[in-house]
């Protein structure tokens, strides 16, 4: 599974980081990005899906293969 944060939509709420800090990070300006080029380990998948649902801007998506 691979995810990406849409930089156009992200306004820096930080919800994704709060829900899943092992995959999402916050940059120096408060905006979120997915670490490791968005690659998600199987163990993290449930919390990543939670983060996707939790983002108020709907800025996170699963990258199709």
């Amino acid at each position: 599974m691979r995810v990406q944060v849409d930089a156009v939509k992200c306004v820096g709420n930080g919800t994704c980081y709060e829900v899943c800090p092992s995959v999402f990070a916050i940059d120096d300006w408060g905006y979120a990005y997915a670490e490791a080029d968005g690659q998600v380990l199987p163990d993290d998948e449930p919390t990543v899906r939670e983060a996707i649902q939790a983002c108020p801007e709907m800025a996170i998506s699963i990258v199709p293969d």
Partner: protein
């Protein structure tokens, strides 16, 4: 002082092998009749044959990414129609002038390439997307000349779309957004235009120079095309060489030609001496050191050295230039050209600009240099387009290629940094439209059936 880009650069030389190529020594516009008389619009290869020939030719895109054209075209052709072809001649890199030269002076070689593309992928509409007014007028005239000649049989509709000249307007998603009546601003990918482009249809967005090469490939064959250049990057490419050289202008060279030879065509470094370096790819490719003169001009070879050839714009930096001042000016450019759509781009490019200005002003400490590197890493690969990557490239190339110069600027004022560099780092007058409003006044179309 704001430096101006080369509006209509002269041809200053060519290093090619046999047969006709793209550039001709001319100040006028090649008419339809003239182009036809010289063998134009007589291509025997049409339809799927164009794709086969293109695959053998190994043509790679000349807009900056150097992507293999046959693969790109196949991806559009495989999807259900209707399909569109876009001639992308916007050339957002301010130091590049090759595409506007082609449309101003040899519009039919570009249009013939677009017709071949439309035939290959089964497209019924061609868009010519351009910011330069004389180039747009020349393209409109070419469309009208084609319409007036019935001997070519039915041809696709040809529309000319004019947009403001901004850095992000030439990005492929900006292109389809503007064609659909929106602002010329990038969108998040996927989808890419080959999946969903103009009017929601699969769309081939191809650089103007690339299509001009296609016209020659369908006319003279892949073998002729491969007669110049290297095995992995065959053919010739156009370079816009500017900055501190005696004769700035366009050159056409076989890929793999050494930069030293190109510099000789441009008359050498103005003021003599060795160059301080080169700004590559327009501004996107970063700043390369003097060692670059002995490197082959070819995407892959330069990429392994950390340099981006981009769309082939090379700015020569004379002996007296300070590369830190150049980097700071380019950093300022990227911050100003941000489309203000992505927070990380707005904040990140501004932070990079500020840090580079501190370095230029002698106000940076070692921690600031580390911070600059960190900023570059944080913006890379983010945002709807590659503008943040351009800012990152400038920072990373400066630190990698000129470590001694950077160290000398930490806490120390550089007198050469006080010299303005705007005369070699041209700026753009227009800024991206951020309101989301459609730039109606600058947009026009002409259709030919």
């Amino acid at each position: 002082m704001t430096g101006a880009a080369l509006a209509d650069p002269p041809l200053v030389g060519a290093i090619t092998v046999g047969g006709e190529r793209l550039l001709q020594q001319r100040c006028d516009r090649e008419s339809f009749a003239e182009y036809r008389a010289a063998g134009g619009y007589r291509n025997a290869v049409r339809g799927a044959g164009v794709l086969r020939e293109l695959s053998v030719a190994g043509l790679r895109g000349r807009g900056g990414a150097a992507f293999p054209t046959a693969i790109k075209w196949q991806a559009v052709a495989e999807r259900p129609g209707p399909r569109h072809v876009v001639v992308n001649a916007e050339e957002g890199e301010p130091a590049s002038a090759k595409d506007r030269w082609l449309l101003r002076h040899r519009p039919h070689i570009v249009v013939e390439g677009a017709l071949a593309a439309a035939s290959a992928i089964g497209a019924d509409t061609i868009w010519i997307y351009v910011a330069d007014r004389p180039a747009a007028e020349s393209a409109r005239e070419a469309a009208a000349e084609l319409r007036a000649d019935t001997s070519l049989g039915p041809i696709p509709r040809i529309n000319v779309v004019e947009v403001p000249h901004t850095y992000v307007a030439g990005e492929e998603t900006s292109v389809v957004r503007a064609i659909d009546g929106g602002p010329a601003l990038p969108t998040t990918k996927p989808p890419r235009p080959f999946e969903r482009g103009a009017a929601g249809s699969p769309t081939l967005v191809q650089n103007a120079e690339t299509l001009a090469h296609v016209a020659l490939i369908v006319r003279s064959g892949a073998k002729q095309f491969r007669g110049a250049g290297s095995n992995t990057a065959p053919g010739t490419l156009l370079l816009t060489i500017s900055g501190d050289c005696i004769r700035p202008g366009l050159v056409e060279v076989a890929t793999g030609t050494r930069l030293r030879e190109v510099l000789a065509l441009a008359g050498g470094v103005r003021g003599g001496g060795a160059p301080a370096g080169f700004a590559f790819g327009g501004y996107f490719g970063g700043i390369a050191g003097p060692r670059t003169v002995d490197l082959p001009i070819e995407h892959d070879a330069l990429r392994t050295e950390g340099i981006g050839l981009g769309c082939g714009a090379v700015i020569v930096l004379g002996t007296h230039r300070c590369v830190v001042a150049v980097a700071a000016t380019i950093g300022k450019f990227f911050a100003a050209q941000s489309a203000h759509q992505c927070g990380v781009c707005v904040r990140g490019t501004a932070a990079i600009q500020g840090a580079l200005e501190r370095l230029r002003g002698g106000r940076a400490d070692p921690a600031n240099v580390e911070q600059l590197q960190r900023f570059a890493g944080l913006v890379r690969g983010r945002g709807a387009c590659a503008l943040p990557d351009g800012a990152a490239n400038v920072v990373e190339s400066l630190i990698r290629e000129f470590p001694g110069t950077v160290a000398d600027h930490v806490g120390r004022v550089c007198l050469r940094c006080r010299l303005p560099v705007d005369d070699v780092i041209p700026n753009l007058a227009a800024r991206p439209v951020t309101s989301g409003a459609r730039p109606e006044e600058t947009r026009s179309r002409e259709e030919s059936q």
